[in-house]
Every structure is written in C-alpha cells, then in structure tokens.
Symmetry: C2
C-alpha cells in the first residue's frame, strides 16, 4: 500500500498512520476544522469529503469534519470511523483522486493545530505496576508498595477536563500550599517540585446510556484512538492535599495532549498480550479481549532524552479501564478522555516521571548542557514522542506532546 503523495515509505506519518486533528491555516486562523496528517501535510478532511466520490457517507463525514473538534465525528461511532479510514486510504492511494485532493493539502508549517477534542470527562488511571510501586515506596514508605486493591481493579480518579490543553501550550508554574514533615504549618508559594507524567490518553466515542455498562469485549467499539498525554504534577501540592480524597490542585492546573489523535485502527500491529493478571485472579467483568498496546515512548527535557517508557508493560489495558469505569452504570460521552497513568518500567531509564527518575529529587538527572534536575525549572521544555509497530515493517508515529514551563504569576 503506497500513496501517490511524495512521502517516504519509512515516514512515521505515512499512509499507515493517518491521525486526526483540528487545524486552521495561518491565512484564515478562525476557521478550525478537522484535518488528517499525511507525511508533513494536513488534509482538509471536510473539504475533500464535500467533493463526494466517497462511499456514501460523504455528507455525514463532511458535516462532522467541518466542526472545530472531533466530537461530532466521534459521535458517528465505530462503523463510520472504519468507513472514513477506508475512504481516506482510498483517496490517498488511488492516483485518480489526486487532482481533487491536492488543492486541499496544507503544509504542516502553514497551519495552527488546536485541541483536537472538546474533552467531556477526563479520568486518569494508575495502571503501571512499576509506577504504583515506586510512588508507594516514595510517598508511603511505611506501607506495602502497592495498595491492597491495586491488582483487583484499575484505580482511577476524575481530573479537570477544562484544563486539558493542546501540545505546545505553555504551562504556568502552579502556586499553592505545601507542608513538609518538618514544617509546623503549611507554606504558600510556587510549586518547588513540578513534575511530568508520561502517559497515553485514550479518546472515547459513542455515547452510552446512564445505568448501562460496556464490557471488555465491547470496549474497542468506544476506543477511537490514542494521544500522548503529559499529566503535569506539582508533587509538593499533591502530597499535602491528597489524603483522603485524592489529587486535586496538584494536577488540575494543566494536562497536555498531542494535537493528533492516532486511531486505534492504525494500531492493529501493536496489539500485544498483557503481562499477566493471574495472581490474584481478576473478577469476570474485567476479562475479555483486553489487548495491550506496544507503544514505545521517549521523554526528553530540553533535548536530552531522560527516559524510554514502554506501554506494553502496563498491568491494566485500556479496554479493562473502560469496562471498569462504566461497571457502576456511569455513562460515556463523545470526547471522554482517560489516561493510562504514568508509564514506568522496571529499569530506571524507563520511568515516566521525575519523581521516580530522581527518587523524589534525591538522585538528580544531568542534562546535555551539564545542568542537573531534581524537578522542573522555569523555561524547561518537556517533549514526549512515541511510535508503534505498523504493517510491513513500518512504524506508526504517535504525535508528540510538548510544553514549556513559565514562571508562576
């Protein structure tokens, strides 16, 4: 399968990938609509769909893609997503469509990318055993590394959907209360332990009715695609506030996601078995087609790679998280987003947070310029990139998420 466009066969955003985003051209910055990335170009999807020649879903797709978010497309459901991908592949591979399509391709450097999804509810999970175990040892040294419930259910909590921002958005250092063990009373000021969490985010489509649940086997019909997600975390604020009701201001100041959503349909070659869930056995509602995803992440600070987390090692799968999230009858909405939780592996260089990489700041990292970091400094830029195996030896690029810390206001 090859495209008539001039895209090298080994390009991570070749015909095997085709992620969706929301863009406007620099000439017409107010008109946001859905785009599809191919190579270093952006296809104006609604404009092409409006030309017709597609498999009968043209009017629906053209209308859905004309919106400034993916939500109306997410609402069309998995059969429409499959049709759309088939049709996009068709027009980008059969040369007969070239003349019609070419006028609707924009150079990536001539567009502005916006938040791809109007996030409905945002949930973050805690699905890496190595991460949970590391955090337990750091935050709760007197207890077992894993909480007693950890291997029975995917632990999660709701985050602030209104502060999910698109890759490239600056992150203002948050201010708040912190209290170390030696402080007699809490201290107020800018966070001094500002951290990252390298995660995948799963984008949901296909709303469900309140009071119903989605099984593990049906979850893939609601899992539209993935983004890279950086769950910025102020560890000092978090440590003081989180007992007993969980993280709040330590997380709610910003969560960054990549501008492009990689459809699950592009990740067929990345499906892998889970590492294992036999001890203890999981409850039946968490059983089923609970595939893992072989996604390779790379985290860099100011250009220095500091970690290479592997998503394939996650204990819980996205299908299980979605089944768990709805087992109590909670409904789904188009645009729901849930995160994997920090992706950490057993080796030190595969940990997905500075909290773990520097063991709460006690073992600082050294960057390429010779400077050291326990936590983030103002001006630091954190970038997460990733790829997954595609068909025929190709790589599916997972679009980067990046952000720069600006001083507290």
């Amino acid at each position: 399968m090859s495209t008539w466009l001039d895209v090298p066969a080994d390009h991570p955003f070749g015909i095997q990938t085709l992620p969706y985003g929301v863009f406007a051209t620099t000439d017409d910055p107010e008109r946001r609509r859905v785009g599809v990335r191919i190579g270093d170009l952006v296809l104006d999807a609604s404009a092409v769909a409006a030309l017709g020649g597609d498999p009968g879903d043209g009017p629906h797709l053209a209308a859905a893609w004309a919106h400034p978010s993916l939500n109306p497309f997410l609402a069309l459901g998995p059969d429409a997503w499959a049709t759309a991908r088939w049709w996009l592949t068709e027009i980008l591979t059969d040369d007969v469509h070239r003349a019609g399509v070419e006028p609707h391709l924009h150079a990536l450097d001539r567009v502005v990318l916006h938040l791809p999804v109007e996030v409905a509810d945002y949930v973050d999970f805690y699905a890496s055993e190595d991460h949970a175990s590391n955090v337990g040892q750091i935050f709760r040294p007197d207890n077992a590394a894993l909480p007693p419930n950890w291997k029975h259910l995917p632990i999660g909590y709701h985050g602030r959907s209104g502060t999910v921002v698109v890759s490239g958005t600056d992150v203002v250092r948050p201010t708040g209360q912190r209290k170390g063990p030696a402080d007699p009373v809490p201290v107020f000021g800018p966070s001094i332990r500002l951290d990252i969490e390298a995660e995948l985010g799963y984008v949901v489509g296909g709303a469900t009715e309140l009071g119903t649940r989605v099984s593990v086997d049906d979850a893939a019909r609601h899992l539209f695609g993935i983004v890279l997600l950086n769950d910025w975390s102020a560890r000092d604020l978090q440590a003081w506030e989180y007992v007993p009701l969980g993280p709040f201001l330590g997380k709610s100041f910003a969560t960054s996601i990549s501008a492009w959503v990689t459809p699950l349909a592009a990740l067929g070659g990345a499906r892998v078995p889970l590492p294992g869930q036999s001890d203890p056995a999981i409850l039946p509602y968490l059983e089923g087609d609970a595939f893992g995803l072989d996604v390779h992440l790379e985290v860099s600070i100011n250009g220095t790679v500091v970690s290479r987390p592997e998503h394939s090692g996650m204990y819980w799968s996205p299908a299980q998280m979605l089944a768990h999230m709805t087992v109590n009858g909670a409904s789904l909405r188009d645009g729901d987003l849930f995160g994997s939780g920090t992706i950490s592996g057993p080796s030190k260089d595969s940990r997905g947070s500075l909290l773990e990489l520097t063991w709460n700041g006690t073992e600082p990292l050294t960057l390429a310029d010779g400077s050291t970091r326990g936590f983030l400094e103002d001006g630091d830029t954190v970038t997460i990139t990733a790829w997954a195996p595609g068909p025929d030896g190709t790589r599916v690029g997972i679009s980067e998420v990046t952000g720069t810390i600006t001083p507290a206001r």
Copy 2:
C-alpha cells in the same frame, strides 16, 4: 415589592426568589429554553425578552435564554445577571407589562424540567467539619477524626460531570467491587450500602484564563447561584477503591441537582458570618469576603423527614472554595459546578448522610411506615428541600432535588 400575579405573599417562589431553569412545554417537548419560576408558573424568559421594552440588554438576553441550557446566560457575567434580575422584577411587578407577559406564562404542571446547566467541570468539596469528623471516625477509626490538612484548605476532588442529572431522574443501583475486612477477596455485585449526601451545589459563570486565579473577594462575581445537590454514594464501593486516589465509582454513577438554580442575588438576606477559622489561622489567599449562607435543608425518605442540616454551620465558604480551586491557575468555565460536600451539624438529626445518621448502618432509622433503613432500598425516594431567609420576613424557596432508586441492572 409585590407582583401583579396571583401569588401569595408567603409563597417561597414569590418575587423575592425568581430561580432559573430549563423547560419545555408538554405540547412542544423538544423546544427547551430558559424559564423563570414565579409562584407555580414558569415564565418563558426568551419569549418575553424578545418583546423588547427591557433595559437595552434585550437582544443579548433573548438570545442567551433561547438556548437549552443556562450556559450562554452564565457566560454574560455578573452585570448581565444583575440587569436581568432587575428587569424580570420590573415586568413582574409593574402592571403595565401584564398584557405582554401573561401569554408567556406556563403552569408548572404543564412543563417538563430539564438539567438547567450543561455541567463543565464538577468538583465536590468536604467543607462540613461535623461531616468530615464523623466520616473520619467511621472509615479511619485508628486516626485523628480530621486529616491534618482539613483546617488549612477546603479539601475537594473532581467528580463525573457527565452523570449529573436533573431532579426526578431515577437512580439505578450501582454494581461494583466491595471488600469488607473479613472478606479474603473482593466480592462483585450491586452495592449494599447505597447512601445520599445532602449538599448545596454552586453554579459558576464567567470563564477565566488558564494560569490566573480568582480571589475570595472576586469569587461572588463568578458565583451565579445555588442548587440542591444529592451526591449519591455507594459506601461499600467507595471504601474499597478510594485509597490512594480518592472516590471514583462509588460516586460517579449519578449526582442529582435541582431543576431550578436560585441566583445568589436572591440570597442577600441569607449571608451570615462563618463559624470561625482562627485555630489554625488560614493562609491569606483564603481571606476576604468569605460569607456563609443561612440555608435550611430537610431530607426525607419516602416522606419521612430524617434530617434537617444547616448550611450556616459549614466551615469553608463557597467563595473560599472557588478561590482555592483556582489558586493553582486552574481556569473556570461557564457551567462549572461545585458542591459543598455533605452538610452535617453537631446534632444527630442534622446529619446529611445515612452513613452518619445510622453510624454506618449500626443504628437504623425507622420510617413512618415502621420499616427501618441502614442504607437505601430499591424503590426508596429521597427528597431534599430547603429555604433561606428573604427580604421583609419572606422565605426564599430552594427548589427540591428528588430521586428514586431502581434495581441494579
């Protein structure tokens, strides 16, 4: 101040109240728009605003009120809210407007009420000292009743905005994992400790920019109004899941709010000082015009009053909660909703949850029909009503929130 309508002077929804909701008539059920309650009638607000004769904001108000949620009206901000209330009062008190207005009044029993707000982010706080102390004693008997952070900051967490439902919506009993101390492994099934939490909800308008904060003194400009809120809680699911990241499925299956939003402007006579925050002293960012609200709640199960919580006893005020929620730079959106947390007083008959009223089921309540309740049974209807002091000895009615438990699916 009196209205030309035939509304008794002691009616809790007289001219002193004027709450906003979203309605459709039974004749035309698809056309949802903003209504204002007066007595037992609903004023079609956009239809009247479109007639003109208002103080110049007519076109804005008519357009905002034509929407199927209050959100566009919330976006107009506090000056527009004040103008709107002044104008509504004018047309309902000056007889000259009678002929124009009367055709746009609908009997309350001829309309269907819908969720008044498209909820952006939903946060729930934990602001009653008696509630937090009771829960601490029940859930964490080996620790101090209050967590160390409790009197330094209003503890809160994000809930699921997609499962906020309007009063009258049935609540399906949730299913999930629970594990008592004597259970070797978790058990799966319908919750057997289904509870209520009687709260006020605060409805936010006036979006803010990411990275900025709202002070206590400015909070009132973003606090549009209040609703009654029942934060349904499955105590068995919650107890097993909530360490370390807080409540999730034990709460996310449903949160009910009243159909009418009572504007803060109607509650001037209900402003009271807070009970006191001197020991320990609070940080400066939580100081300012942090008024309490003297709202009297009544909780009934199947018609038997089981509790009369007093909102005036809350330790933290809504203005302080809003200032805290944004101190880290988290932005606000129109339609954000935050809850007070369960409102409990020092006496047993003023506790706002069954967990506390029955001391985790060990001291069951007896209802009027002679049956007893530790927690809720299928078919139970829980109704919360409330009122606050209004001008000239009147009462401001706070519209009820009610819901009935249906069996697990």
